[in-house]
């Protein structure tokens, strides 16, 4: 093995190890990783962890305060709130994966095409994204979700529609810088097709800020989805979705505090976990952007 191959072969591993070390040093980051890990575990093992069915109605047991049988109390249909909160983690993770996954693919591809090809294509994508960014995100999402008809699926469509411009912009910025580097010119000179240059030479090098953006967005996606459900344009009862649960519980606020408290707490803790994780991932992958706590 020549000296430079060895050099390049070992570099990624040591950098990775350094990143992990840095992650463990930050207590807040560890906390974020722990919450996220716990959330995934709870969602994966929900049927085994939840003491009751999340949807089974039991009218004699309606609106019971927290007790040993029902640690989080029961709701207006006698359903166990703890079990519903546990199953709610599945709904939340599904929303996150779909929204972030879809926006990531759509936004990155549009940013890649727009940045690499330039010209009218670039102009079009950027002007359209300007328009989407000119709306307060939640208002636009509400309008789209309401027009399509209130449901969880339509709320996801609405969120993808408002979220892609961020990824398109981040990717485009990267592509513009990378496009000028010599190895792209070399690939062009070697006769590589535009598609090959975009996918093989440019995309892999602009993926890390996109991943940072995606992790930073996870918390916001959870908050937006919960807010849409709370207002009535997202998941509909009796789906065990946290925002929808708080929304119904609001009618029982005066005498039954536990109904809104526990699902809301689940949202807060989940979003906090994602935000701390996002900060940590940003610090590792993109130290130039390091800001704030």
């Amino acid at each position: 093995m020549r000296w430079w191959t060895r050099e390049f072969a070992t570099r990624p591993e040591s950098e990775w190890r350094r990143a992990i070390r840095r992650l463990w040093r930050s207590r807040l980051a560890v906390f974020g990783v722990a919450i996220t890990g716990l959330l995934v575990l709870i969602a994966a093992f929900a049927p085994w962890i939840a003491p009751y069915s999340p949807t089974k109605i039991s009218l004699p047991e309606r609106l019971l305060p927290p007790s040993r049988q029902h640690p989080f109390g029961t709701d207006d249909a006698g359903r166990d709130i703890l079990s519903r909160v546990i199953y709610g983690s599945r709904v939340t993770l599904r929303i996150c994966t779909l929204v972030v996954g879809l926006t990531l693919v759509i936004g990155t591809l549009l940013g890649l095409i727009s940045g690499y090809l330039g010209g009218w294509m670039d102009e079009l994508v950027m002007r359209v994204s300007d328009v989407f960014l000119a709306f307060p995100a939640l208002i636009l999402a509400m309008a789209i979700a309401a027009a399509l008809g209130p449901s969880l699926e339509n709320a996801i469509v609405a969120m993808v529609a408002i979220w892609w411009p961020r990824y398109a912009r981040v990717t485009r910025g990267q592509v513009l810088a990378i496009r000028e580097i010599d190895y792209v010119a070399a690939a062009q000179a070697a006769g590589a097709s535009q598609l090959r240059i975009m996918l093989r030479h440019i995309l892999p090098n602009c993926i890390s800020p996109v991943v940072v953006q995606a992790t930073l967005d996870l918390g916001e996606v959870v908050l937006t989805a919960a807010t849409l459900s709370f207002i009535g344009f997202g998941a509909q009862p009796p789906t065990p979705e946290w925002g929808a649960m708080v929304s119904v519980g609001r009618n029982y606020l005066r005498n039954y505090w536990w109904y809104t408290t526990f699902p809301g707490l689940a949202i807060l803790i989940t979003v906090m976990g994602f935000n701390l994780l996002g900060d940590a991932v940003r610090d590792i992958l993109d130290p130039r952007l390091r800001r704030g706590p």
Binding site: L28, R127, V128, D130, V131, F132, A134, F135, P136, A137, L138, I139, L140, M142, A143, I144, A146, A147, L148, G149, G219, L223, A226, T227, F230, I231, G232, F233, G243, V246, R250, L253, R254, W257, T260, T261, G264, I267, L268, V271, M272, N275, L276, R291, G292, P293
Partner: protein, 321 residues
């Protein structure tokens, strides 16, 4: 800015026309006869091709006519004028609270870096940006209104509102000298504006802290200290002024968040504002109202961000337009 505004009008128009099913049928209700539906279709121009409908709508918007609401049967413009002051009063108070507390908190956090005040403020800001606003509103309502009974519950005022001048209750009661209404309206504002301010407060604290840390590490700060200036003077005059630009950007961007957050806040506190109105319009598929309000909200957001851009020049004399 003009192409963006044109795009904004186009998007609001398109959203209102993706409604599944027949809009005329929706307006007419389930028991309408085909003749009535046909008449509604003509009245709202729904029988024309989409691009013609858009051209007509654009023409109306340019003349300041936002159409007629299906739900309230009043001009959308008049509805917005009626509901806008409540939202304006709420969001402005929230923004003032967020700036008044957020910037000092950020400064303290930076000055006491890695010591107790900094840790507390960082934990607070992590919680702040992660907090579901609607849940915080319910918690505060439960605690201060239902349990402790020390603050008024939903609504803008308990008795009669002050005589209408601007529609802003605080200002109107000041102008008409009705002190009882002033106190009452101010008390009603506390919970909703604090709820709404919370997330933005955390964001402003975060940004002020990090840009202050950057500014405090600069050479000119060391120079100022070595001249023997008082530390307070160094922090405020030398570091803060340079740290304010990123904070201003966050304030501008957060305004959109405030308008979004206002939706849940107005719903919880039965606040008769514009977003409360638009949620009702969205639920009943009153698309002229939805288009009108969405458009007005987008224009407010664009304007605020433009004003923020212009204010950079006030803070930083190196920037000139």
């Amino acid at each position: 800015m003009v192409p963006t505004l044109l795009g904004v009008v186009l998007i609001t128009f398109l959203i209102s026309h993706i409604v599944p099913g027949d809009a005329a049928q929706l307006i007419a209700g389930p028991r309408a006869t085909p003749e009535i539906i046909q008449r509604i279709r003509q009245e709202y121009g729904l029988d024309k091709p989409l691009h013609i409908q858009f051209a007509i709508y654009l023409g109306q918007v340019l003349r300041g006519d936002l159409g007629k609401s299906i739900r309230t049967r009043r001009p959308v413009g008049a509805d917005i004028r009626a509901f806008f002051p409540a939202t304006f009063e709420l969001t402005t108070t929230a923004m003032l609270l967020a700036v008044l507390f957020g910037i000092p908190l950020g400064i303290i956090s930076a000055v006491y870096r890695d010591r107790l005040p900094d840790h507390l403020s960082r934990v607070f800001s992590v919680i702040g940006v992660s907090m579901p606003i609607f849940w915080l509103g319910l918690l505060l309502l439960f605690l201060f209104y239902i349990r402790l009974g020390i603050l008024p519950g939903p609504g803008r005022i308990s008795g009669d509102p002050p005589a209408h001048i601007t529609g802003l209750y605080l200002l109107d009661s000041l102008l008409t000298g009705s002190w009882r209404a002033l106190g009452d309206a101010a008390l009603h504002l506390i919970l909703p504006s604090f709820t709404l301010a919370f997330a933005v407060l955390a964001r402003i604290t975060r940004m002020t802290r990090s840009s202050m840390l950057e500014a405090l590490a600069q050479d000119y700060v060391r120079t100022a200290r070595s001249k023997g200036l008082m530390e307070r003077w160094v922090v405020v005059r030398h570091a803060l002024r340079n740290a304010l630009i990123p904070t201003l950007t966050v304030i501008g961007l957060s305004y959109g968040e405030l308008l979004g957050g206002a939706v849940a806040t107005e719903l919880i506190f039965a606040w008769p504002g514009m977003t409360h109105y638009v949620v009702g319009s969205m639920t009943s598929l009153d698309f002229p109202a939805v288009m009108g309000v969405t458009l007005v909200i987008a224009i407010i957001y664009i304007t605020v961000n433009l004003l923020v851009d212009l204010s950079y020049a006030l803070v930083d004399p190196r920037i000139r337009y």
